[in-house]
């Protein structure tokens, strides 16, 4: 990583040395492009997708890294500035070219260092990868600068940008890393190569340059239009979506943008899964949030502490002119992939991220409570954990529901399924019923318990005097209901011998009697 950082820093120095006078315009933009490419176009900017008005000629950004802001900072770059775009400044071009020369040299050095080191040691692969990224980024920025420089020479640039399909297509190609990575042909992706031969780089670069000058047909051949609306007579995409999760991903059914009214961007898998999306241009530290980066930048010098530098980049100006941007999933065959017949674009970067993780990644987060549910998006896991274990509505088929009406809908739908009572509930209710039943019994047995012998013969349960009295009265009459009745009430008392409340003093004798009975 250090090598990469150092080269980055040298690049910074070089650019800052060049960045004087008219070259100042180039500087922020170059950095913008570079940083963007470091982020691997994570937040593709309209400036890239539509460089009709070259960012070069846009008014200088308010601060160095403000341009780095990725929140669709179309702003000033998009503002057509006729005075600058129409005026052709040879001096500026010269300085640009000088800068590019230096830049190419730096990249060359880096590549050479890689190749030399590779010969010596196998080397840390991550370091290597970082360097490759850096090279890719640098190359991208160089190419873009070249194009913009060259583009400023084209007379057609003065026209409204949409009127020039060539430029638009090109811009789309550039805006989409895939388009570039594939280089519009089936050339292997730069990323996938461990070594980037200069020739390969050069050829890709030349091709791009050439593509500017070649005829329309050639361009069409070379550069596949990534936009589904590209004029191949594509049908309007039907906006049907059956996947609940997909619609979660931010595709709004009601949106129903007509195809062609928006620009489609497609990010690479690596970009989607990159943990950080904002990088410090000075030390290379990555951040998830732009605000955190701005906070971080304060440590690099007083110039980053100004109110303007710390302010949240505004997104008001020119937002009307910003083209509607939609995203495509890089997974071929996915409905969210632009190649799909019924392509349905994703609305925001966040949607892309969530969609890709949910649909095409392993579900690596497991709920620690139920140990069954797995998620690929941590937010989903957290949402689940809020409700996990609270699915108290149970169907006989084993399915649980968090809501009663959902359970009843399920039961109504499936033949033979029946609401099931949770086991503990059943036990509790049974216990309470039994307890309720046994309560008078217990009381009776307790009151009986004071007698020395509580045998199953009911009559001896009575107070002796009472029994005598009773016998006196019973004698002329029928006795049997009395015995029966006492039998009746003593027996249930034994039924509940396992009752926790059987604290009868003569508990053991009860057990015995139970056996006797």
């Amino acid at each position: 990583m250090e090598g990469g950082m150092s080269s980055l820093e040298t690049a910074m120095k070089a650019s800052s040395s060049v960045a004087s006078g008219t070259a100042r315009n180039a500087d922020p933009d170059q950095q913008t492009v570079r940083s963007n490419s470091v982020e691997q176009f994570y937040f593709p900017r309209p400036g890239q997708s539509l460089p009709g008005i070259p960012p070069f000629f846009g008014p200088p950004s308010s601060s160095l890294y403000l341009a780095n802001d990725n929140e669709a900072k179309v702003g000033n770059q998009f503002e057509p500035n006729p005075s600058q775009s129409t005026d052709w400044d040879p001096q500026a071009i010269v300085s640009n070219l000088t800068f590019l020369e230096q830049k190419i040299k730096q990249v060359k050095d880096v590549v050479q260092s890689i190749s030399s080191r590779e010969n010596q040691v196998a080397g840390g692969s991550c370091e290597l990868a970082a360097k490759q990224q850096l090279i890719t980024a640098d190359l991208t920025s160089i190419i873009i600068q070249l194009i913009t420089t060259a583009g400023s020479l084209l007379p057609s640039m003065k026209n409204p940008l949409s009127s020039n399909p060539a430029v638009r297509q090109l811009s789309n190609t550039l805006g989409s890393p895939m388009g570039f990575g594939m280089n519009a042909n089936q050339r292997p992706s730069v990323d996938s190569k461990t070594d980037i031969p200069d020739i390969g780089k050069a050829s890709g670069y030349e091709e791009l340059i050439n593509s500017l000058n070649t005829t329309q047909d050639e361009r069409d051949d070379l550069i596949k239009c990534p936009n589904p609306c590209g004029g191949e007579g594509s049908e309007p995409t039907p906006m049907e979506d059956h996947d609940v999760k997909e619609s979660d991903d931010g595709d709004h059914e009601g949106e129903n943008l007509p195809p062609g009214s928006y620009v489609v961007l497609q990010l690479e898998k690596e970009e989607i899964l990159a943990p950080h999306t904002h990088f410090c241009l000075i030390c290379g530290k990555g951040f998830k949030r732009d605000a955190n980066l701005r906070m971080h930048m304060r440590g690099h010098g007083d110039e980053y502490k100004t109110a303007a530098a710390l302010a949240k980049p505004t997104k008001d100006s020119g937002s009307d002119h910003a083209p509607v941007t939609r995203y495509s999933c890089p997974f071929v065959g996915c409905k969210r992939n632009k190649e799909h017949k019924k392509f349905q674009p994703l609305k925001t970067i966040l949607c892309v991220k969530n969609h890709y993780k949910r649909s095409h990644c392993d579900k690596s987060y497991t709920c620690s409570r139920c140990n069954t549910k797995k998620f690929s998006v941590i937010a989903d896991l957290k949402t689940h954990e809020k409700h996990c274990g609270r699915d108290k509505w149970l169907c006989s088929c084993g399915t649980t529901f968090s809501r009663k009406d959902k359970l009843f809908g399920h039961v109504a739908l499936f033949q033979g399924h029946t609401p099931a009572l949770p086991m503990d509930d059943v036990k509790v209710s049974e216990a309470s019923e039994q307890q309720q039943d046994s309560e008078p019994m217990n009381e009776i047995s307790r009151s009986m318990g004071c007698f020395p012998c509580s045998s199953s013969d009911g009559i001896s349960n009575l107070d002796m005097k009472m029994a005598d009295d009773a016998r006196g009265y019973y004698s002329p009459l029928s006795f049997d209901p009395c015995f029966g009745a006492l039998d009746d009430f003593t027996r249930p008392g034994f039924d509940i011998s396992e009752d926790p409340f059987s604290f009868l003093p003569s508990g053991c004798s009860y057990v015995q009697q139970n056996g006797d009975n």
Binding site: T418, E433, P440, E443, M466, C482, P492
Partner: protein, 649 residues
């Protein structure tokens, strides 16, 4: 119940020389086909239920035949269930309404594979899900289960009920812990349900009822009174294809909106709808509901519509088949009543409407209840008898009815129930007309008719051999002569002679010997009745269920002899001078089937508390009365004046 006592030697001695057809059929019993024998037994049982027991004791073959014959078992104690089921293998109905306490173990003792098809647990408590589970396992063919008043039965019990897949009739009234989960189990588990009562199941919501409507399409009768049903499930229930009877008493969730949203898809099978006490229903809702239920036969709107409007009356005309319309407690607008009156020639049951309109338009009236209509003159009451000759039930309690009115009623030869209590102007002469012309009379109420004496009662007793119930309370002129004549009414099961001081044990003994089916007896303030009467009762009135002995001259001896009637359930023993705590305790201990006993509060402290608890544990409820001792019985007119004064105040 017979089985329990069968082994007692003394009883066998008593019944073995039983005369009559039983001994005659014994020798050729084997040659007699079971069907014929059962017909004989049916007739014998209809005359005197005790006769079957004597028959069974006659011989081994008779015993076997009687065992095969009996279909209904009504044991007095739950612990007799196994023995009874073993003795009567072909019994299909088990009525446990006499067993106040039925523990789980008793239900579990039922032998598996029994042929029981109906079990009534509506008046029992003490069992839970475990007992029902055992019952479900033992009786695979159970089709009728009554669990009413199971206030402790919840979802667990319902889940066990759901295992009885052949269940067709189920009552879960007042199972208050029941929730949608339990009902859901039942709805899925018992798809053949035809009749279901969920009255007072307050734990139910629309979710469960909706599921019920989805799963149990065969329901013909569904009682949802006093439930929390709302529009949500009401619409689904009204679409049940076979539903005929739907009581919705006191459903506050049913309102005009719910009734208004019934559409044409609503089931056409509904015949009986009871929406009384549905506070939120008005004439608007009724008018819109009537359109979608064209086949209604009975409609009860008592206390639900604040007022009957002409438009509602007109909409009721569209139900051409309507036979019974109850509008109790509804304020009538004059035109509305006219609309009903002109349309409902077939209406047979009306309450609280003006007499003239009824008598002129409803000549086929069968039942008329006009309690406490003090504004109706005696002349108008005569109109009833003249015009409505088809009357079967008439309630003119507390009215100006006189002998002329009774004479007019003589035309109603189908009269079976006549309630003319607190009609002070009637005398023996009027009763003579009734006695001569109403042979079908089964129930007569002469409460506080001070003007009548023995002669009138004798006329009734002679003219109405089918008499089952008579109330002569506070008819102070009544003597033993009346009771002697009433003892010829062998079907008499209810006798109320409260406050007849001239009645004695002699008359009561005649009743006991003649009316073997007597089950309810009220002899409060019959001061002349003593232990002798009780001895006769204990000897002959084995069907006695309920007795009120307050203020009698009965002592411990009479009480203890009375307590040998094993079916006795309900006793009121207040202000008896001859009763001691010991005697009372002994009697209570002997009576195993008691469910309710009213005693004077003074006894509470005098009886051993553990004995009281013992009796309570068997399922008996004590009610402690603390009323002052008051011997004298005021004349009826004085009493009426006093009660009216109380009302005015």
């Amino acid at each position: 119940m017979a089985a329990a006592a069968a082994h007692r030697n003394n009883k066998r001695r008593r019944f073995s020389p039983a005369p009559g057809p039983t001994s005659a059929t014994a020798p050729p019993l084997d040659s007699l086909a079971d069907e014929l024998l059962f017909l004989v037994l049916d007739r014998v049982a209809a005359a005197d239920p005790r006769a079957l027991k004597s028959f069974a004791l006659a011989s081994r073959a008779c015993h076997a035949a009687e065992s095969r014959h009996r279909r209904l078992l009504r044991p007095l104690r739950a612990d007799l269930i196994p023995a009874a089921l073993a003795r009567y293998p072909s019994a299909s109905r088990l009525d446990l309404s006499l067993c106040a306490r039925v523990p789980d173990a008793a239900l579990a003792a039922a032998p598996s594979g029994s042929s029981l098809r109906a079990v009534d647990l509506s008046r029992s408590w003490g069992f839970g899900a475990a007992g029902l589970a055992a019952l479900a396992g033992a009786c695979p063919d159970l089709a009728d289960l009554d669990l009413s008043n199971g206030v402790h039965l919840g979802d667990a019990a319902a889940a066990e009920v759901a295992r009885m897949r052949t269940l067709q009739r189920l009552s879960l009234s007042r199972c208050k812990p029941l929730t949608d989960m339990g009902l859901g189990c039942v709805a899925v588990g018992c798809p053949d349900l035809r009749e279901l009562s969920l009255k007072w199941c307050l734990g139910l919501t629309d979710l469960g009822l909706h599921l019920l409507a989805l799963k149990c399409k065969k329901l013909t009768s569904l009682d949802l009174s006093y439930t929390m049903i709302t529009k949500e499930s009401f619409l689904a229930i009204m679409k049940l294809p076979n539903l005929q009877v739907l009581p919705l008493v006191g459903c506050i969730g049913i309102d005009d909106d719910a009734l208004g949203s019934l559409d044409k898809e609503c089931s056409k099978s509904l015949q009986v709808l009871n929406m009384s006490h549905c506070q939120n229903v008005t004439d608007v809702g009724v008018s819109s509901m009537v359109k979608s239920t064209p086949n209604l036969l009975e409609l009860d709107l008592s206390y639900c519509c604040p007022q009957v409007t002409p438009s509602m009356g007109r909409s009721l005309q569209t139900i051409t088949k309507l036979r019974i319309l109850k509008l109790e407690g509804c304020k009538f607008m004059a035109d509305g009543l006219k609309a009903i009156g002109s349309s409902c020639v077939s209406i047979r049951d009306i309450t609280d409407v003006s007499v003239a309109a009824i008598t002129s338009s409803c000549t086929s009236l069968i039942s008329l209840r006009m309690e406490s209509c003090s504004h109706v003159s005696s002349g108008a009451l005569q109109l009833i008898g003249k015009n409505c000759s088809h009357l079967e039930e008439l309630d003119l309690t507390d009215s100006d009815l006189d002998d002329e009115g009774l004479k007019a009623l003589a035309g109603c030869s189908n009269l079976s129930s006549l309630k003319i209590g607190i009609c002070l102007r009637i005398s023996d002469e009027g009763l003579t007309h009734i006695g001569k012309s109403c042979p079908k009379l089964g129930d007569i109420d002469l409460y506080r008719c001070g003007g009548i004496s023995d002669d009138g009662v004798i006329q009734i007793a002679q003219g109405s051999p089918m008499l089952e119930s008579i109330n002569l309370s506070y008819c102070t002129e009544i003597t033993d002569r009346s009771l002697m004549s009433l003892s010829k009414c062998t079907k008499l099961n209810t006798l109320e002679i409260r406050g007849c001081p001239r009645v004695s044990s002699a008359g009561l003994s005649e009743i006991a010997m003649g009316c073997r089916l007597l089950s309810k007896l009220d002899i409060k303030k019959c001061f002349e009745i003593n232990d002798v009467g009780m001895l006769y009762l204990s000897q002959f009135s084995h069907s006695l269920r309920q007795i009120n002995l307050s203020y009698c001259s009965v002592t411990d001896i009479g009480l203890l002899s009375l307590s040998s009637i094993c079916g006795l359930q309900n006793m009121t023993i207040v202000h008896l001078a001859g009763i001691t705590p010991n005697g009372l305790t002994a009697a209570l201990m002997v009576c195993g089937g008691l469910t309710k006993v009213k005693l004077h509060e003074a006894f509470k402290s005098m009886m051993p508390p553990h004995m009281l608890k013992n009796v309570e544990a068997r399922g008996c409820i004590f009610q402690w009365i603390n009323k002052p001792f008051k011997v004298e019985v005021e004349p009826c007119d004085v009493w009426k004046q006093q009660s009216q004064d109380v009302l005015v105040r």
